[in-house]
Structures are given as structure tokens and as C-alpha cells.
């Protein structure tokens, strides 16, 4: 085999490797947009976050606008504090917006549902680092059943 042919084949090999990488980066992976500089942070406190995890999506009307960046316990209030990376493409949510922990399907992954509030004069928009005040915790099946039984008992 002559040198020229070897060079061509090696060139092809390297190109194929790069093509594979581009395919994986562009078609297979989300290009990690939210974890890079082009996002801002919002926080929210919940009584109970259920099965929410870091990297769970944050959705508005089903559209993913961000991801959970960090979950910690606020030791003053003993509430769960969730920090989210929201893409800068989606900003100026009103401060009356509410956020709740939802479940995709009956047994699916949990995610954050952000519901924008009313836009009115005098109502500020959420700035990077702000807390969303209106939160609804995760539904915990055991608690739900307990409440149900309790209310049943109350009626009798």
C-alpha cells in the first residue's frame, strides 16, 4: 500500500472521528446550554420536594426553560431550597409567578412547573437571584392517602 493511500485513509479516519463527535454533541446531547454562562438563577423554597433531583427540568407550559442546579436545606426555616438555572432566552417572569413540583405521568420523573403570574403595573419582574414566593410542594402519595382517610373519618 503506498503512502498516499495511507494518508488519505488516515485523514478519512480522523474526519470520521470528528464527525462522530459532532453528531454526539449536536444530535444526541443537549449542548449543555443551561449549564454554561447563558443562564440566570432563580430560587424557590418548598416544604417538600419529593423526588426532584439536580438536573430535573423546569418547564413553562411544557416547554423546558431551565434545569435544577442545586438542592439544599435552608437551616433557618428547615425548608428545601431549590436553585434553578433558567436560560436567558426566557426572562422577565412576573414576581407573582408560582412554581410547583409536578410529576410526568403517574410514575414518571418529577419536574418543576413554572406558572407565570399576571403582568400588571407595579408588579416587578423576577431578577437573577430572586426567590419565587408562591410555591406548591410535591404531592406525596402517603400524605395524600392519609389526608383522604382522615377526611373520610371526619365525615362519619
Amino acid at each position: 500500500m503506498n503512502n498516499r493511500k495511507i494518508e488519505v485513509l488516515v485523514g478519512f479516519f480522523i474526519a470520521a472521528g470528528i464527525a462522530a463527535f459532532l453528531f454526539l454533541a449536536l444530535s444526541v446531547a443537549n449542548s449543555g446550554g443551561f449549564s454554561n454562562g447563558d443562564s440566570y438563577r432563580l430560587s424557590a423554597k418548598f416544604d417538600n420536594i419529593g423526588g426532584l433531583k439536580v438536573r430535573s427540568p423546569v418547564k413553562v407550559g411544557g416547554v423546558v426553560v431551565g434545569r435544577v442546579a442545586e438542592i439544599k436545606l435552608d437551616t433557618n426555616s428547615f425548608m428545601a431550597e431549590v436553585v434553578m438555572d433558567i436560560s436567558v432566552d426566557y426572562k422577565d417572569f412576573p414576581e407573582t409567578s408560582s412554581i410547583s413540583i409536578l410529576t410526568a405521568g403517574l410514575l414518571g420523573e418529577q419536574y418543576l412547573g413554572l406558572e407565570p403570574g399576571f403582568m400588571m403595573e407595579g408588579i416587578e419582574t423576577l431578577k437573577p437571584g430572586d426567590y419565587i414566593q408562591d410555591t406548591k410542594s410535591a404531592l406525596v402519595l402517603e400524605e395524600l392517602i392519609g389526608q383522604f382517610l382522615f377526611s373520610q373519618g371526619g365525615e362519619d
Binding site: 488516515v10 479516519f13 472521528g17 462522530a20 454533541a25 446531547a29 449549564s35 414518571g108
Partner: protein
Amino acid sequence: MLLDWFAGIGRNGINATMTLGRAGIMLFNALWSLPNIRKNTPLLIKQLFVVGVQSLAIIIVSGLFIGMVLGLQGYTILVGYGAENSLGPMVALSLLRELGPVVTALLFAGRAGSALTAEIGLMKATEQLSSMELMAVDPLRRVIAPRFWAGVLSMPLLALMFSAVGILGGHLVGVEWLGVDSGSYWSVMQAAVDLKDDVMNGFIKSVAFAFVVTWIAIFRGYDCIPTSEGISKATTQTVVHASLAVLGLDFVLTALMFGE
């Protein structure tokens, strides 16, 4: 009795340490000088051909089949939970994080690693390395270094191709044959796969494996007993040691990267 046992451990420990030392010195001597671009590039290209291009077929075929098997197995398991839409991330994540780097490294050890060991061992046995040394050409730089770099460069590329082909194989079985929705295969996959955490970490793994496997293969050849028996033993050792090293290292890297 007991003393013998300790002596055995001690002997093996000393031997292992000395072998590691020799391997380290070999690699250092082969790589520490600045390469001469004009002379070394053609050598590197030649070795990229031998080590990389010639491993392409086995990598592509294995990647395709593993992806197809993942598609099939994943589908049968996921469909029981009504979660067949998660087939995409299942296939992609298994390939990118584990199977791509690991299986590529194992195949590479068997295909290219053993060939490297045998080739270098035979060059040693037929005094080709000695005679090169006497022509004032350092075999470590002329023979060992280009083979090492070729291995380190080509294996990560092969692992990327393996994963890419595997994902397409999973698509073939899951979407084309079993009827998972094509849109959800890709979009759920995209939502779950992260460039940095999954693609890049897998890539880093394969670079680490490439380093270890090529190093073992080259050292086993360079250090072999220069007889036909010695070469065959060295070749076996390359495959065994490289595979074990890859699996062990994989656990460590996985724990570091994905464990919390």
C-alpha cells in the same frame, strides 16, 4: 508455611513494582524529547493507519450490534412500564458513559494491542531494535513513540464512532422495527444527555483507557523475553492485563465522575 505465603506476596509486590518502574522509564524515555515534526509525522500516520484505520471495521460492526441489542433489550424492558419513550436516553447513556469507552478499549486491546506487542516483541527477538540502536537511532523514539501516540489518538476517536454507530443501531431497532416514535427517541434523548457530563466524561474515559492499553501493549512487547514463547506469553499478557486494567480503571473513573 505462613512465612512462605508472605514471602510470595513480597516477591510479587517487588516484581510488580519493578515492572511498573521499567514501564515508566520506557515511556518517559520514549516521550520526553520534543518530536521532530518532519521525521515523525509520516511514522505517526503509518501507525495511525495500522492501529486506527485497521481497527475501524471491528469497532463499527460491534458498535452497531451492541446498539441494536440495547435497542431490543431496552424496548422489551421499558415497554413493560409504558416507558418506551425513554429508549433513546437509555441507549445513548449506556453507550456514552460505559459501553462506548469500555467495549472499544477491550476490542482495541484484542485487535491492536496484541498486534503491537507481537510486532515489537518480534522486532526485539530478531535484533531489529538492537541494530537500530547501533545505527544511532533510538528505537524508543523511532518505534515506540509513534505507536504510543497512534494508540492514544485513535482509541478515543474509535470510541466516539462506536457510540455514534450504536445510537444509530438502537434507532434502527427501536424506531424502525419496533415502532418507538422517532421524534421522542431523539428529543427525550437530547433532554437527558448532557454534553459535558455524558459525552465529555465518556471521552475522558476513553482517553484514559487509550493511554493505559497502549502503554501496556507497547511495554509488554518491549520487555518480552525475545523468543517465540516469550512473545506469545507477552501477547496474552497484553490482552489480559489491558482488559483488567480497563475494567478496574472504569470503576474508579465512574465513581469519580458519576458517583455523588
